[in-house]
Each structure stands twice: as C-alpha cells, then as structure tokens.
C-alpha cells in the first residue's frame, strides 16, 4: 500500500514542530525557506490523505468485496 510510507501522524508532528520554530522565529532565512517548503509538502500530503482517493488503496479494497 503506497501510503504506508506516509504517516499522517508523523507528518502532523513534523508540521507542528516546524510551526513552533517559525513562530519562535528561531530560523535563519535559508533554514526557513527549506522548512517552509517541507511544511507545504507535508500539509498538502495530509490534505490529500483526507480528501483524495488513492486509486491503489481503492483497488485493494475493491478486491476484498464479498
């Protein structure tokens, strides 16, 4: 299952860590740009998990119908 690689919980934790850093303003500009990029990716991945169908998982579930 593809999304086994993606842990929503871990992603959320990372997002919250990055947020804490951003809000503390304890990053330099280079770090900030990296972290912002990372957080954006993670937020998108989390959103995707909630709202977008993963065809691969769907297929696995279709097979199990009795």
């Amino acid at each position: 299952m593809t999304d086994k690689k993606f842990s929503y919980n871990a992603a959320m934790q990372e997002i919250e860590q990055i947020l804490a850093l951003l809000e503390k303003n304890s990053l330099d500009v280079d770090e900030m740009s990296q972290k912002v990029k990372r957080a954006t990716e993670l937020l998108q991945a989390c959103k995707k998990k909630l709202y977008e169908t993963d065809a691969e998982i769907q297929a696995v579930f279709e097979q199990t119908k009795i």
């Binding site: 919980n9 951003l22 912002v36 954006t40 937020l43 989390c46 909630l50 709202y51 169908t53 199990t64």
Partner: protein
C-alpha cells in the same frame, strides 16, 4: 382383591388431585433447557433446575405457552430483556400446574417477569466481564491506539441490515468530502449463529493482510432482536484480543453488551458509528486547517520581518558605504598632499646636490686651470732660458750663410763669406779652411 385401576382412571385421579392441590397459579423460577416455537403459534419449553455449583440437573418439567398468551408475551419479553426466550435463560414465570391423562405433567405459563431475566442476564454479563478481567484480556483492544484517521475500515455486518446501508451512505457521501475505504465482511448479527459467524468474519479480515485502521461491527434493526450473542464469552474473548481497534455500533438502548465493553470504541447505533468516524476526520481536518492558517500567518510575519531587516540593512549599508567612500576620499587627498610635499622635498634635495656638484666642478676646473696656467708659466720661464738672445749672451754664437743658419761645415766652401752673430754685434769672416769632425 380390589379391582385394579385402569391407567386412565389413575391419571384422571392424579389430574383431579392436582387440580385440587394447585387450584391457584404459582410463580416458579427455572432455567430453560429447550425452547421451541411451534408453527401452530404455541411455544413449548423444557424447564430445568441445576444443583448449585454444578451442572447436574435435579428437576425437570415441560412447560407450554399457549398461542393466545405467547402472541403478547413474546414481544413484551424481548423488548424488556433485549433477548429472545431461549435455552440457557433463567426465567421467573407464573404457571398453573396441569396434568393431562395422555400427555402427563405440564406447566402452563401464564406470565413472565422479564426483570428476573434481565437481572440474570446482567449477572451473566458481569460474570463474563469478571472472567475476561481475570484472563487479563478485557482491556487489550481498548488499549490499542485509536487511529487519528480511521479511513481504511473493515465492516462486519449483515448486508440486509438497514443500519449497514445507512452507515455506508453516511460514510461515503459525507458533506466534508472525506475519503473512506471500506471492505465488507458479512456475518450473522443475531441469535445463536452470530458468535461463530462474527469470529469467522474477523478471522477473514486478518487473512486479507490489509492494514486496516479499524474494524467496525454494526448491526441495525429492531430493538426486539436478540442481542445476547454480544455477551458471549467466546466472542468477547476473541474481540478483546483482536489486534485491530474495534468500533462497535450494535444498536441497543439498554445496558452495554460485553462486546461494547471490550471494543476500543462503542457507540449505540451504526449511524452513531459513522458520525464518530466522520468526527475523527473532521477534527483532523480542523487541526490541518488551523495548521495551514498558522503556517501562512507565521510565514507572512517572518517574510515581513525579513523584508524590514533587509531594508534596514540596505539603508545601513548605503550609509556605511557613503561614509567609507568619504573616508577613502580623505585618505587619498592626504596621501596626495604627502606625495606632493615629499616629491618637492626630494626635488629640492636633488637640486641642491646638482648645485653642489656643479660648484664643485667649477671649483675643480678653476683650480685645474690655475695649475695649468702655473705650469705654463713655469714652462715659459724654462723655455725663456733657451732663447737665442740669452744663449748668445751666454757666449754661444750663430753663424749665418746667405741669411741661413749654418748647421754643417759641409754647407760651406772656402772663400765664402759668413756672418757670425754675437751678443753685441756681427763678425763677417771669409772661410779659409773647413774640417769635418772625425768622431
């Protein structure tokens, strides 16, 4: 000898005696060992009593609930107890003792006190819970972490149940647009066969190897259905140890079943189960949205700060650069002045040196000239000593022949006249003889 009685006579006598002895109805507590509903509408039971602390039967009696009584009694009992009348149950019944000459001893049930059965069921539930606790398994499923996003779900239910349809509809057509993946595992959800059927479905879920987030056990339908299967030790023992968190929504209004007790999460109905799952996701969606907003806000704040810093820095830089350029200008001017001074000084020194050399040269030339002059004078004086006049004065004389100084006797011949100059006059002589020196 007295004429022996016929069996019929005897049975009729027994019947009469019993009718006399048990003219009123009686309340009896007993356990059902058999319960059969006849198509005719009557219900036939076998009642037993067991010895305390053992399974040995110490009393047994047939019992009947006539159709006219059963029609009212059945729904009342089921509604009150949440279970059907069935073997294994303890009941408190109002009976009349009857004896039929053909069918023998029988208890006709007039009424049932469901509170007794409810109490007994509760006791039994408590007993199952106590046993599961003693086994150390009761909280195992509860202790599994409930997933943040229960999206991959195994549904154990009966496909015909209205509750199942509602659940699926609610889950898949939610207003938020959340995604759920559901796999259906069919099971019988009431009565005796429910226990093995649900266990088989749960086994099948594990066999798929799919990483389910949760298992949802739902049952929709009338309240009168038999729910005592969800109190069964075997099923609950299995569910308690099930490795995937269980969400139960088996539809009940009375006490919690043991399955509810061991499930990770228990709600009353399939609809409530769907609502619970949706609320899980909507909580996370809210958290996600909050984080999105926090993120945008903090990035915006940071960017503003950086812009301000940058602008302040560039102002500072400009000011600083201007200052540096000014200082550099001053330095260059100073250096220029220094250079000018130094070169002037150097030039002056050189000039002096040249002048000094020049005067030296003049001086030296002059003294050389003086020396030369002196030497010339000396030489002139010396040369003056050698002039003919001085020499003549000293006694030397000049001999001329035809005005030419005679330097050899060979230029002269006898008889020729010569002139000899002396310091105080001239002597003219004629040559008599000439001789050559013989050296």
């Amino acid at each position: 000898m007295i004429e022996p009685l016929t069996l019929l006579d005897l049975n009729l006598m027994v019947r009469n005696q019993l009718r006399k002895a048990f003219s009123d109805t009686l309340w009896v507590q007993a356990e059902i060992s058999e319960c059969k509903e006849h198509f005719s509408g009557h219900c036939y039971l076998e009642l037993i009593q067991k010895r305390n602390e053992s399974d040995t039967i110490c009393a047994k009696a047939r019992a009947t609930i006539w159709g006219n009584v059963w029609t009212g009694l059945k729904p009342f009992f089921e509604e009150q107890t949440g279970t059907k009348l069935q073997a294994g149950q303890k009941i408190l019944v109002e009976v009349s003792v009857e004896f039929h000459e053909l069918y023998g001893y029988n208890l006709v049930i007039r009424s049932i006190d469901p509170a007794y059965t409810v109490g007994d069921l509760a006791l039994r539930r408590n007993e199952v819970i106590r046993q599961l606790t003693q086994d150390g398994v009761i909280d195992l499923n509860k202790e599994l972490p409930w997933p943040l996003l229960p999206q991959r779900l195994a549904i154990v239910s009966s496909p015909s149940a209205a509750g199942y349809e509602d659940f699926m509809d609610q889950l898949h057509h939610n207003d938020y647009g959340f995604i759920f993946y559901t796999a259906f595992f069919q099971a019988i959800m009431q009565g005796e066969p429910a226990e093995p059927s649900i266990i088989a479905a749960l086994d099948l879920i594990l066999e798929t190897g799919i990483d389910f987030d949760a298992v949802v056990i739902i049952r929709g339908g009338g309240a009168s259905a038999d729910l005592s299967c969800f109190d069964r030790y075997g099923l609950c023992y299995y569910c308690a140890q099930y490795p995937i968190p269980i969400l139960s929504g088996i539809g009940h209004d009375r006490d919690l079943s043991v399955l509810d007790r061991v499930s990770n999460v228990s709600v009353k109905t399939p609809t409530a189960a769907a609502e619970y799952l949706l609320s899980n996701l909507s909580q996370e969606a809210y958290r996600l949205d909050t984080n999105f907003n926090r993120f945008h806000q903090s990035v915006k704040t940071l960017m503003d700060t950086y812009k301000q810093q940058l602008s302040a820095n560039s102002d500072h830089l400009r000011l600083h650069a201007r200052e540096r350029i000014h200082l550099a200008d001053l330095l260059i001017e100073r250096r220029e002045a220094e250079l000018k001074n130094q070169s002037r000084h150097l030039l002056f020194q050189k000039k002096q040196l040249v002048e000094m050399h020049y005067s030296n040269l003049i001086h030296r030339t002059n003294s050389s000239l003086e020396q030369f002059k002196h030497q010339r004078e000396m030489m002139e004086k010396t040369l003056a000593g050698f002039s003919p006049e001085i020499l003549i004065k000293r006694g030397f004389s000049l001999t001329l022949h035809n005005g030419i100084i005679v330097k050899s006797v060979q230029d002269l011949s006898n008889g020729e006249e010569i002139c000899t100059r002396l310091s105080d006059g001239v002597v003219y002589s004629t040559i008599n003889k000439t001789e050559l020196k013989n050296d």
